[in-house]
């Protein structure tokens, strides 16, 4: 099988939904600028691109209509490049990386853009027409709210509120350090909006304090432990990575960031969906023949502090490897865009900081996990 590499990573700044700087930007326009930025920064020959695979968790409204194709046209990709929208909720754009890898393994192309987008301002969670099936609801907690799953994980793993807040504070601090020392700048594509160019993240709260977090009210259950401070915020954003064969990258002088070693998806109980990364990561590690202790970089999506803490413990992630530039609690979590961001970030960290193996993994509403194992090129 051919080696597959990540050879580029861009994203938009991430901003709070509704009140942030991207609330008035259409998600197709947002993603198109990020894709265009990726093409320009990597210097990939556009005609070689087989497909634009875009993850989106609620693909309707302005991010509906097979938005991948529309993004390709908006981004002035050649008409010969395909476009497909994929949905695995929060795992959508990591799925797009897996689909590109699968296609390459199948001999169905050499170069892919794997992107993700979510405007949580303009398309609400659950979409405009949530119509759950009453029979399923009676049978399984398939429609359980995400916050409630975070509470379930917290109580099952006895993760105190204080521990969650310590974790959240660390995420904020790491993200603030990364931003202030310019480590986030290279991945961000400045976004043109009607109100001007937006080129920095908007969700970070570097001023967070333990006291401030401790004063917040529980966000989902009156007697619960999860607050807005220990949950990822509703976010607008887009991201993209370039996935191609190692041979293609070498032939065309593309800058390789990391090699794909293995991938996995898995299911779990919907009411503790936050535990999804555990099984998915174990499977990916086993397929890649890598032990958790060997991981130098782990991008474990912080949907909630409680599930991130539980998963990091179960997988056996070393603290110093975890979310080095901060996680979604600080940076934000535009559902469909997060997978490509953390794959791109894991690859970037391997290339930047050294180390041999990196894992990107995330939980998925409805009860799933997805994981991608990378190695240094």
């Amino acid at each position: 099988m051919q080696n597959i590499v990540v050879a580029g990573f861009t994203r938009s700044p991430f901003h709070f939904a509704s009140k942030g700087a991207l609330a008035r930007v259409r998600p197709d326009d947002l993603a198109a600028q990020v894709v265009r930025g990726l093409v320009e920064r990597t210097g990939v020959k556009q005609d070689d691109i087989e497909d634009l695979i875009v993850g989106c968790a609620f693909p309707e409204g302005e991010q509906g209509m097979n938005v991948a194709r529309l993004i390709g046209l908006l981004a002035d990709l050649p008409q010969s490049v395909g476009g497909v929208t994929v949905n695995r909720f929060c795992g959508s754009s990591m799925q797009s990386v897996h689909m590109a890898a699968g296609a390459i393994a199948l001999g169905a192309g050499e170069v892919f853009i794997c992107a993700g987008v979510e405007s949580m301002s303009r398309v609400p969670m659950q979409g405009f027409n949530p119509l759950p099936n009453p029979e399923l609801a009676a049978k399984a907690p398939a429609y359980i709210g995400m916050g409630d799953t975070a509470e379930n994980v917290a109580s099952r793993y006895e993760i105190s509120r204080e521990r969650q807040e310590t974790f959240a504070l660390a995420s904020q601090r790491k993200a603030a350090d990364a931003r202030s020392s310019g480590r986030l700048k290279d991945e961000i594509v400045p976004i043109r909006t009607k109100a001007g160019v937006v080129d920095t993240d908007g969700c970070l709260r570097p001023e967070s304090t333990a006291e401030g977090l401790a004063a917040l009210k529980p966000a989902f259950q009156a007697t619960g432990t999860v607050t807005a401070g220990t949950a990822s915020p509703l976010t607008d954003g887009a991201s993209a990575v370039l996935v191609c064969t190692e041979e293609y990258a070498r032939r065309n002088g593309l800058r390789m960031m990391a090699r794909l070693r293995s991938v996995a998806v898995s299911g779990c109980a919907p009411e503790v969906m936050g535990l999804g990364p555990i099984l998915a990561s174990r499977k990916a590690l086993e397929r890649g023949g890598v032990k958790a202790s060997e991981l130098d970089v782990v991008e474990l999506n912080e949907a909630f502090a409680s599930q991130a803490i539980a998963c990091a413990g179960e997988i056996g992630v070393r603290d110093e490897a975890l979310n080095i530039d901060g996680g979604a609690i600080a940076i934000g979590h535009p559902l469909g865009a997060t997978g490509a961001r953390i794959v791109g970030k894991a690859a970037q960290l391997l290339a930047r900081d050294g180390g041999r193996y990196a894992l990107a993994t995330q939980c998925i509403g409805g009860g799933q996990g997805i994981a991608t194992l990378l190695e240094r090129v």
């Binding site: 027409n129 949530p130 009453p134 609801a137 966000a219």
Partner: protein, 774 residues
Amino acid sequence: MTTSAINRVCVIGAGVMGAAIAAQVANAGVRVLLLDILPKDEGSDRSGVAKAAIARLLKTDPAPFMSPANARLVEAGNIDDDFGRVAECDWVIEAIVERLDAKQALYRRLDAVRRPGTAISSNTSTIPLAQLIEGLPASLQRDFMITHFFNPPRYMRLLEIVTSPETDASLVDRIAQFSDHRLGKTVVRAKDTPGFIANRIGTFWLQHGVNAAIDLGLTVEEADAVMGRPFGIPKTGVFGLLDLVGLDLMPHINASMKASLPADDAFLASLRESPLLSRMIAEGYTGRKGKGGFYRINRTAGKVKESIGLVTGDYAASSMATVPSELSRSPKALIASSEKLGGYAWTVMGATLAYAAGLVPAIADDIVAVDAAMRLGFNWKQGPFELLDALGPKAVAARLEQDGRPVPALLKQVGDGTFYKVADGETQFLGTDGHYRAVPREPGVLLLVDIKRTREPELRNGSAALWDIGNGVACFEFSSKMNSIDEPILKLLEKSVEVVKQRYKALVIYSDATNFSAGANLGLALFACNIAAWGEIEKLVSGGQRTLKALKYAPFPVVAGVAGLALGGGCEVVLHADAVQAHAESYIGLVECGVGLVPGWGGCGEMLQRWRDAPGVPHGPMPAPSKVFETVSVATVSKSAAEAKSLRFLREDDGVTMNRDRLLFDARARALSLVDGYVPPKPPEFRLPGAGGRLAMSLAANGYHRQGIATSHDLVVADALSEVLTGGDADYFDAVSERDLLALERKSFMRLIRTGPTLDRIQHTLETGKPLRN
């Protein structure tokens, strides 16, 4: 009308009054430039003072803006960089510090930059106009006047305008018209005397209210109980009002009055040092804005309402005072009573009314202006002369004589008569020349009370009436307590449809009362529940549905003239009208869920239709039901007509009238505009999501329950509401008719009203006026 000439206003001084006046101008849809001085801190935003004021307005409760979007019409600036832009404005309102030199200096600067003919007015409440314009250029004097707004300017309807002999009369008319039509104010022309009208009489009344309470040994509760309800004065009475406006304001006002009133003015005799008041102010007990005032909430052990002892100066738990009901209902009997409370009533009101009677024509041309000023500036139900009529002018004069006090000329003049009388089908007032003449009404002001004096109703029962209001339009008037809707109202409404069909072109639903309707009469419903008269209740529900649909599909246009509260069933009447003419201060909502019910008179379907047809709402089965669910399940009430539009209780093209007195006239005009070619609406059909949608709403409600926001009975109510809004067991492929929805409403309503928690809610609300969160 020349109001179009005011297209932009400049307010200088972004303090509490200036900023809030700017907000009211913005509420009228007019752009405002709000200027203040440069901030002390050099490095900060040069327009920071005005910007901070706008930010403060957005956080103030009650809200100065009718819609937060109106803030965009207020542009912040400073008097250094932006002063030249005064030339863009048609009216400049000065609301800076009450210092003559500062004001005059500002006027001179303004004169240099303003366009000729631009009105300049001061919002001063203490400096005479003559002093303000002394020594100013003639051109400036011509364009200058005082426009005295009351706090808070959005809600207080009084505007006193004071002019000098030099003021250009046509310019005054222009400002008065703009203030009337666009700012919604009742303009009262006052003379250039200290305190003008309302504050002159109001401060006298407050001062006497405090003095007499101390002298006669009343508690603050007793004093406020006497001054409040019996005289039609807000229940804050004297001491509650002082707490509201701020105790620290009193010494300033008194000093200013002392400095400017003639030496023989009765007010000066009432001034005295109050060690208690001085101590309270010194210790920060300045009223509600401070640590408390005559009343305070003590939070050291729970939440205890306390009041201060006027003699001891110590706080103690507040004890409610009541005036015996036979006295409370009759101010005449109250002042005649020899008891302590009666003595207080006479001491304060006798003096105040005599004072007022002695001030005409010194402070205003006629008694009408004085009564209007006290009604609108102090929220009295009746002005001093109307109160004198209620007490009997002759009896008051006799009592004054008996007390050895002077009887004012006007009070002597009225003799055996009254200050107002109805003659020749109109209300007339006694002029200072001894002649009666008609109380003037501005063109475009139409009040039902005037019409009712001139004719008999077409129909009438104990709860409502139908009136001919001219031009071929009939007016249906609710007249029950709080205009709550009962069976007699529904019956008369049904009958009215027949009468209007035969004899009129259109129908307006309107009353002069403060509130359009507080909703269905819950007391009757509760009574029926207690005797398990479920059949009667269901009949009332279906009767209401039938009546309101008859209104909707009547062959003539129906316009609701809404002001104040239009809640529950009252809101449903509004929703069934072809058009609405709403007073800007309209508080509309379907609040049934608050008492554990669902809208039962067709409100659900009407709201579904509005949201379904609203522009910008996504397609599919859920958005419209979701929007209605979000609004109705938490009993949302609009805080203005503008907000009612965004909540879709009003349509985008429903009219808004700023001046309450113009509402009926505008509603009638709106009704007439719909007459030609009128075709009743067609019954709507809906595609609704059925069980899946109901589950989605239930999941959302359960989330709120876990968060501790929704109570357990809220879940029951929300489920009953969602069953209606999602069409019951409808399939998205099948049309749901209006009739189907009405049946679902009845089913959910009857299911809920049989539950104990719903009955508890109704009972609690009836007893306390507040919702029960069970």
